[in-house]
C-alpha cells in the first residue's frame, strides 16, 4: 500500500481522512462478505451438484433408458452378481464407475456420449444392440484392464483370498496368472454379468468369426519366474 498517512500516526484525523478510512473499512467489509458468500455459495453448489450427480449413479437411473433395461440389465439378472446365496448385490456403478473423485467425474463426462446415442437411437433395439455388442464389450474390457480391474477389486481382494476354500483349478490360475504374471481379473473373467459377444473359438466354421481368442484370453508375458513356489 502506498498510503503515507497511516491512520495510527494521526491522533485527530481530518474529515477527508475519516472518509477515506470509512471507505476503506467498507471495502474491507465488502471483500469479507463476498468471500463468505462465495464460500457458502460454493458449498451450496457442491451439495446440489453432488446430489444431482449421485442420482445418476443409481440403478433406477441407469435402467431408466430401455437400452439398458431391455438388454444388459436383463442379462445381469441371470448372473451371480444379481442373486446369490448371501444376497450381496453390486449394482451398475460398482463395476462400471471408478470410485475416486476425478476419474469418476471424467468417466461421467465420457458417459454423456450415451445420452447422444440414446437420442439418435444407436442401440435402441436388441438387434442393434447385438450388432454393437462386440465394440461395447471390448471398450469396457479395455477400461477395466487399464484400471487393473478396480471395480472388481473394491469387493474382491486377492490379499483376502482363502486359497484353501478355492478349487484347485482356481488356486492354480490365481497363483499363476494373477499373482505371478500380473494378470488382472478381467483378463479371464469376462462376460460374468452380461452375455458375451461372439468369440471366435475356432470350433465352428459356418458362423461369422467374432472376437479373436487373442483378445478374449490374452497371453501375458511373465514378469519374472517366481522362484518361491
Amino acid at each position: 500500500m502506498m498510503d503515507t498517512d497511516h491512520p495510527d500516526n494521526a491522533s485527530t484525523p481530518a474529515p477527508a481522512q475519516k472518509m477515506k478510512r470509512r471507505r476503506r473499512r467498507e471495502k474491507k467489509r465488502l471483500v469479507s462478505v463476498s468471500v463468505v458468500a462465495a464460500f457458502v455459495l460454493g458449498i451450496l453448489f457442491l451439495i446440489i451438484f453432488n446430489t444431482v450427480l449421485d442420482q445418476t449413479y443409481t440403478e433406477e437411473f441407469c435402467i431408466s433408458c430401455h437400452e439398458m433395461k431391455d438388454n444388459v440389465y436383463k442379462e445381469y439378472q441371470y448372473s451371480a452378481h444379481f442373486t446369490s446365496r448371501s444376497g450381496v448385490r453390486p449394482t451398475c456403478k460398482d463395476c462400471h464407475l471408478p470410485e475416486k473423485g476425478f476419474s469418476k467425474i471424467l468417466r461421467k463426462i465420457e458417459a454423456a456420449n450415451d445420452v447422444w446415442h440414446n437420442l439418435i437411437g444407436s442401440i435402441d433395439t436388441p438387434e442393434k444392440f447385438e450388432e454393437k455388442r462386440a465394440v461395447l464389450a471390448q471398450r469396457e474390457w479395455q477400461r477395466m484392464k487399464t484400471s487393473d480391474s478396480q471395480g472388481c477389486r473394491s469387493c474382491h481382494d486377492p490379499k483376502s483370498f482363502d486359497f484353501s476354500k478355492q478349487g484347485y483349478r482356481s488356486v492354480q490360475q490365481h497363483e499363476d496368472g494373477l499373482l505371478s504374471k500380473g494378470q488382472t481379473c478381467i483378463d479371464c473373467h469376462k462376460g460374468i454379468a452380461h452375455r458375451l459377444p461372439r468369440i471366435n473359438q475356432k470350433i465352428n466354421q459356418a458362423d461369422p468369426p467374432g472376437i479373436s481368442e487373442e483378445i478374449f484370453r490374452p497371453e501375458v508375458v511373465k514378469k519374472e519366474e517366481s522362484s518361491a513356489k
Partner: protein, 151 residues
C-alpha cells in the same frame, strides 16, 4: 322346517362318509402294482433334499460305468454359458487350448458329422456338451441293482 333340517344332517354325514371311503379305497388301490422303492406307488413321494446333488464332486474323475459312457465332468458348470456366441466348455477343452489349461481334449468322435465324415471343427451336433456330459455328484441310486459295468 325342523323336519327338513333333520333330514339334511344324516344326508350330509352319509355323503361325507362315502367320499372318505372312496378316497381311502382309491389310495389303497395300486392296481396290483408292486414297487421296488418300498412305498406304495400311489403314496406321495417324499421329496429328496437334493443336498448331494447341489455340489459337483471336484475330485478326480469318477470312473465310467459302461462302455461309451460320456465321461462325467469333474467340476461345477454353473453359469458356464453354452450359447451360439460362446461355448465356455470349449474355452478349455478345445483342440487349441486343452494343453494350456491341462484339460481333457474333446474326443475325436466329436469331429464326425451325422454321415461319419470327419470335419475340421467340432460337429454342431456335439456342440451342447452338457446334453451328455454332466457334473459328477454324490448321487446314490434310488433303487438298488446288480449292474456291474464293463468287464
Amino acid at each position: 322346517m325342523k323336519k327338513r333340517f333333520l333330514a339334511i344332517v344324516p344326508a350330509t354325514v352319509l355323503a361325507t362318509g362315502l367320499m372318505l371311503l372312496s378316497g381311502i379305497s382309491q389310495a389303497a388301490d395300486d392296481g396290483g402294482l408292486a414297487t421296488l422303492r418300498g412305498a406304495p406307488v400311489s403314496a406321495a413321494e417324499k421329496s429328496p433334499t437334493g443336498d448331494g446333488l447341489k455340489k459337483a464332486l471336484e475330485t478326480a474323475p469318477v470312473d465310467r460305468n459302461f462302455d461309451d459312457q460320456p465321461p462325467l465332468v469333474s467340476h461345477a458348470v454353473d453359469e458356464y454359458p453354452i450359447t451360439k456366441d460362446f461355448n465356455k466348455c470349449m474355452d478349455c477343452h478345445s483342440e487349441a487350448n486343452y494343453k494350456k489349461e491341462k484339460a481333457t481334449k474333446v474326443g475325436s468322435s466329436h469331429y464326425k458329422d451325422a454321415t461319419g465324415k470327419t470335419l475340421k471343427v467340432v460337429s454342431s451336433r456335439r456342440y451342447f456338451c452338457v446334453q451328455c456330459h454332466v457334473p459328477q455328484v454324490d448321487a446314490k441310486p434310488l433303487v438298488g441293482n446288480t449292474f456291474t459295468g464293463p468287464k
